[in-house]
Amino acid sequence: MPGPVLRLAAVTRVHGGRPVWAPLDLVLQPGTLTVVTGPNGAGKTTLLRVAAGLTAPSSGERECAGTALYVRGGAGLRSAQTVRDAVLGTAALVGRRDAVPAALGLLGLAALAGRRVGTLSAGERVRAALAAAVACAPALLCLDEPTAALDEAALADLVIVLEAMRTAGTALLVATHQPDPLLLVADAHLVLGQGRVRLR
């Protein structure tokens, strides 16, 4: 069995002199989906950014085996580019241009591939950002509020895409205020609040 993708040991992050949450231990195995919930200000985004290596922990240790990608909502693609070019440009950064057609197909973006990212609706941008993530196939994908702009049908599609990525071996860490459809298929549920962390 391969080792964990991410290991956080006694990790904290201090904002304004106060720790965002109590020292946190977290181990993510390949091919798992962990949903993170909590009220606004609980530290979900901070946790995802620490997990992705974008923000250094104030104390504790972070180990990550492989590429970690953090995507906020439908962000991550240059607005001036077409969906196809933007996803190609992102996938090329990790040498995976060949994976782009399949990723666009999985997200149902073939018809939108020639549209500029800046002209897409919020839900379409989420799908485009996910297509880039699928094409890059990171070891760890941290998705920050991917559900906010999605209707029910798009939420169901999101679950299908996340399951496909999980099957491909990506460890998924997803922060959301609409956890219900994701919790049906999640491997773990991390609840943040009032500086505490609970694993359900």
Partner: protein, 213 residues
């Protein structure tokens, strides 16, 4: 790593082809700058010849300010900076962005030289090409480092011109002297080379720290 450097560079070219941000911010500016300098310093041919090298380098130096936004500020505005930081190691990200800024500034310098050649009827000294290559490399490294440093926050962005213009002064002096006729080239070539080496090495060394939050 070289593959990722080229991927970052190609991505910059593709974004520029799609949005033409660098084109529309630098080309009209350089053209206007050279024309206005010609009107201000002319019409005596001797005066135009004397001021042409400095006019070109001043235009290139000032053009670094809007160009710096394309390094990281535009990425932050589009919320794509995190993706780049996640997928590309700092060394490759620096090299790819440097390559892009160097290309853009070298083309800006060529444009400036072409305009003073046509409008001022001035031909640069042969060693001006060396000055153009090394000087724009140094400015590209400055642009890359300061572009990242000032990417987030309007107050930081406001600092960009105050930082990049004085820091580019050695390039302005050396590049101008190398393009001028009847100037001993060697000391200025040495200055330009040493300055470029110091700036590229320094920005490369501090780049990972610039990316940290």
């Amino acid at each position: 790593m070289s593959g990722q450097v080229l991927a970052v560079f190609r991505r910059e070219l593709a974004v520029e082809r799609a949005g033409r941000e660098a084109l529309v911010t630098t080309v009209p500016f350089v053209a206007a700058f050279v024309v206005l300098a010609g009107l201000a310093f002319g019409p005596a041919p001797a005066q135009l010849a004397a001021t042409a090298p400095g006019t070109v380098w001043l235009a290139v130096l000032v053009a670094t300010v809007p160009l710096a936004r394309t390094v990281a500020g535009a990425e932050v505005a589009d919320d794509t900076w995190d993706v780049l930081r996640g997928l590309v190691p700092p060394g490759a990200l620096f090299a790819g962005k440097l390559l892009w800024a160097w290309s853009a500034l070298a083309l800006t310098w060529l444009l400036g030289q072409g305009l003073v050649g046509v409008l001022f009827e001035v031909r640069p000294a042969p060693q001006a090409i060396y000055g153009g290559a090394v000087g724009t490399l140094a400015l590209a490294a400055l642009t890359t480092g300061l572009g990242v440093l000032t990417a987030s926050g309007p107050r930081r962005r406001g600092l960009l011109a105050a930082l990049v213009l004085p820091a580019g002064l050695p390039v302005l002096l050396a590049g101008t002297q190398l393009a001028a006729e009847q100037t001993a080239a060697l000391p200025w070539a040495v200055l330009a080379t040493l300055y470029a080496a110091v700036v590229v090495t320094t920005v490369w060394a501090v780049f990972p720290a610039l990316l940290e939050e």
